[in-house]
Amino acid sequence: MQWETVIGLEVHVQLATRSKIFSGASTAFGAEPNTQACAVDLGLPGVLPVLNEQAVAMAVQFGLAIHAEIPEVSVFDRKNYFYPDLPKGYQTSQMYHPIVGPGEVEITLEDGSTRTIRVHHAHLEEDAGKSLHESFSDGMGHAMTGIDLNRAGTPLLEIVSEPDMRSAKEAAAYLKAIHSIVTYLGISDGNMAEGSMRCDVNVSVRPRGQETFGTRAEIKNVNSFRFVERAIEFEVERQIELIEDGGEVVQETRLYDPERDETRSMRTKEEANDYRYFPCPDLLPVVLDGAYVDHLRETLPELPADKRARFQDGLGLSAYDAGVLSASREMAEYFEAVKDACGDAKQAANWVQGELSGALNREGLAIGDSPVSARQLGELITRVMDDTINGKAAKQVFQALWNGQGESADAVIEAKGLKQVTDTAAIEAMIDQVIADSPAQVAQYRDAEPDKRGKMIGYFVGQVMKASRGTANPQQVNALLKEKLDALC
């Protein structure tokens, strides 16, 4: 039987606010446990939440970026359940009236084709703390669990898609598109390793052609693009095998274990909590007036899809180049700075995707950490374009800049004497010397059939370039050599 996979994603994006969603405590990552949890985060008796306006603005910006409806009124609800890292015994979230209504996200697949994935809604909520099950004991050998509430109250935007994806690749592309949007907007650092973006994946399978959905499993807390693909692939295979063996998929929550590359059952529907949602009486409904939303709309930065279109149509880049260079805000900003510095989009695109990306990949660096600044790279390209240096020297200059051996391309060119020699007399002098030093090769050249001589000239070019320490203009060397050697024949 032919099977079709149906996937929906719930992506949790940690918003890059300075303070928590309902308290003034800092959201910075990596502090000592429980040093960034104030009375509100600890859920002490008598404390009250105050909504962080920055979190609201960020959520609305996201909504606008995916062309979503922005309801005038949204309401915070309490999701009630007991867990040690949930200090109040409830999570403040938005169940019935989310801040962002239906919208859509365009994804680009590896073959360059695009698809639109519908977003059901996006809502604001607070994160819980962390339970630390390792390396704690009570001193008498009993294992204990530590609770770190630094993360408690960190603002999250949960983006819930429709079940529109049909393959693991599409799911990964969707996650990348969300990542790209939130980092473009600057509303999240998008750092998946630190948990700034996590997702729950709903997966089901159905015979191709069938309308109704199969029973779904929810895979919790997947935190990388790669794991999303692998978790889905494993889960799809598990479900198909199960059904083909005469079994039935049960609705349940599963966990993906990256080390064993498998999903495991966590709890079934029967064990699910009744969360007893009700409107949080400590928070007023959020009412957004039109002027506020309009202001946010007007101040939205250029988004990935628009940028890709401009790179392609306005700058004349290929679809592929435009896609790669607009994939992240940092990449696009770097590329545009290089382009502005050298004035040539194609050269800038070649260098950023070629020499620079190669070096970054070798050292595992992100573009934001590049030792060569966009200004330096732009200047280097300028020097190639105005024939100050040749291509070979340009690679040397790039390497020197990468290694921090010079403030600018010009400084490196100067220090290393890489300025291209274009003076005909100087080149001729070097050629004459090479010819004088290579009587055997000259004789061979002279004796060869005229149509074989073209290949033999390479030796002389090499010698001349060597004599000039690479600085002679290769085109001039070629032309002058041919002239002089042919005169000897």
């Binding site: 002490l44 008796p45 009630n80 200090p87 007893r276 949602y277 400590d282």
Partner: protein, 486 residues
């Protein structure tokens, strides 16, 4: 000294008739002598009180005294007080020392008042008799067989007994007004949002409101000046200018339109209570007010609606008491579930558990629409009843409670106890202000007249109450405490 009103004490301090230290020492001695049987205090903060009194006297000597500098007050033990035990009347928080002050406490400190300590209450403010306290019942100073009312029973008893000239209470369904009525003092429940809830241990967040309990309306006005106003830490507190609550006290009442809700004079109202209230209304007529009957047609739905909404919010608000971070933790839990179950079973009293169960049930899947949603619809109708009535009249008047204080142990049935709050509960659902003033006696126990106004009409309520207290002396009556006569 202990018979004086807050207004008189403030004047005495200002005139140098006595110092805050003398006054504070006098009251602390009285608490020491009399509260053993009354049980109105859970914690007496004698040391801090004397230090605050000395600081107040020093401020006065420097010419830096405000209206309330050096005036002693006491605080319901539902308000968080930094460095002081804050129990909510519960075993759950029997050892909880708050690391911060509630906004009301902070503002009272800033006004220079001297806190004598923390007052007894029904556990987590759930009750109408103060019998639900983990720290024992409070006795009514007028009759030691009677309850003081609840949940701010300790506050009412302490003021009535002359242990503190004024106290802070909270009112979720009548918890200021009913005990004020039972103990013969004046208690104001402000408009929802007028006084910050920051630092008040939550019972039912959409209904809880703090207010003053004192010997006169003028005293309440002085305290309102200190505690009212917007607080950025409480999103439900209203950003609206705060008037000087003493300013309108003296305004004449000629032309005042009084409405008597038909539904507040029906079955179950004790005849003596009704007689006292109708007498009080006559006093108003003599002051130039006109009286007419009005209707609040949804009154009978107030108690059922309240007992859906309040327990629902409470069930969620009280989830944080789980034995993990603070509060009571059971001994030797076998696992997480055992820790939760036993910590909460041991830490909470019977009435609190009952309301958590009710609230958990009404919010459950399949019941939410029938209970919680319906109750919210009823709540809107009840609010509209009041708004309609205030189109016709300036204030509403009626009894604060259908009976005077009942005997300790007399109301064993929880539902019968809930029905005690029939005249007070709708006010919280509507969010409007209400005040209870002493208006006579029934069988030797005080009767309270309740006066209601529209949202933010506190200045008017205080004016109407004050004018009554200029014309009558019910608020000046003091109980004879058995220990004093002995």
């Amino acid at each position: 000294m202990h018979d004086k009103t807050l207004t008189e004490l403030a004047a005495g301090l200002a005139a140098g008739e006595f110092t805050s230290r003398e006054l504070t020492e006098h009251l602390l001695a009285r608490i020491e002598r009399l509260d053993g049987t009354l049980n109105s205090f859970i914690t007496v903060t004698a040391e801090q009180a004397l230090a605050a009194a000395d600081a107040a006297d020093a401020a006065r000597a420097r010419g830096e005294a405000g209206a309330l500098t050096g005036v002693p007050v006491a605080i319901k033990d539902l308000f968080c007080t930094e460095g002081v035990l804050t129990t909510a009347g519960s075993r759950m928080l029997a050892d909880f020392v708050s690391p911060y002050d509630a906004t009301v406490v902070e503002r009272l400190k800033a006004a220079g008042t001297v806190s004598l300590g923390k007052l007894n209450l029904d556990e987590f403010a759930m009750g109408s008799s103060n019998e639900n306290s983990a720290f024992g019942a409070v006795k009514n100073p007028w009759d030691s067989r009677a309850v003081p009312g609840g949940s701010s029973g300790g506050s009412a008893a302490a003021v009535a007994a002359g242990l503190a000239p004024a106290a802070m209470g909270t009112d979720t369904g009548g918890s200021i007004r009913q005990p004020a009525a039972f103990c013969g003092i004046t208690g104001l429940k402000p408009t929802y949002g007028r006084v910050s809830r920051w630092g008040i241990i939550a019972y039912a967040s959409s209904l809880d409101q703090a207010g003053p309990m004192a010997r006169s309306a003028a005293d309440c006005a002085l305290l309102m000046n200190a505690i009212a106003g917007h607080d950025h830490r409480d999103s439900t507190s209203v950003a609206r200018g705060v008037p000087d609550y003493t300013e309108e006290l003296a305004a004449p009442l000629a032309g005042l339109k009084i409405g008597l809700p038909r539904e507040y004079f029906g079955d179950g109202l004790a005849p003596e209570v009704e007689a006292a209230v109708r007498e009080a209304v006559k006093v108003y007529e003599s002051l130039g007010a006109t009286v007419r009957e009005v209707s609040l047609p949804h009154t009978h739905y107030a108690i059922p609606a309240y007992y859906v909404i309040a327990p629902a919010e409470a069930s969620s608000n009280l989830s944080r008491y789980d034995g993990v971070r603070f509060g009571h933790r059971c001994k030797n839990p076998s696992d997480l579930i055992d820790l939760y179950k036993r910590s909460r079973a041991e830490g909470f009293g019977e009435e609190v558990k009952r309301r958590i169960l009710i609230g958990t049930h009404t919010l459950s899947e399949g019941f939410f629409d029938a209970y919680y949603k319906k109750a919210q619809q009823v709540r809107r109708l009840i609010r509209q009843d009041f708004l309609d009535a205030f189109e016709e009249v300036d204030v509403l008047m009626g009894p604060a409670s259908p009976t005077p204080a009942f005997d300790l142990g007399a109301n064993k049935d929880p539902v019968a106890m809930y029905l005690q709050d029939i005249y007070t509960i709708a006010v919280n659902l509507a969010g409007i202000p209400g005040i209870s003033v002493p208006a006579g006696f029934a069988g030797g126990r005080p009767v309270g007249l309740q006066i209601l106004g529209t949202h933010f009409a506190e200045p008017r309520l205080l004016n109407v109450a004050h004018q009554f207290q200029q014309a009558t002396d019910w608020h000046l009556r003091r109980p004879e405490l058995a220990e004093e006569t002995a």
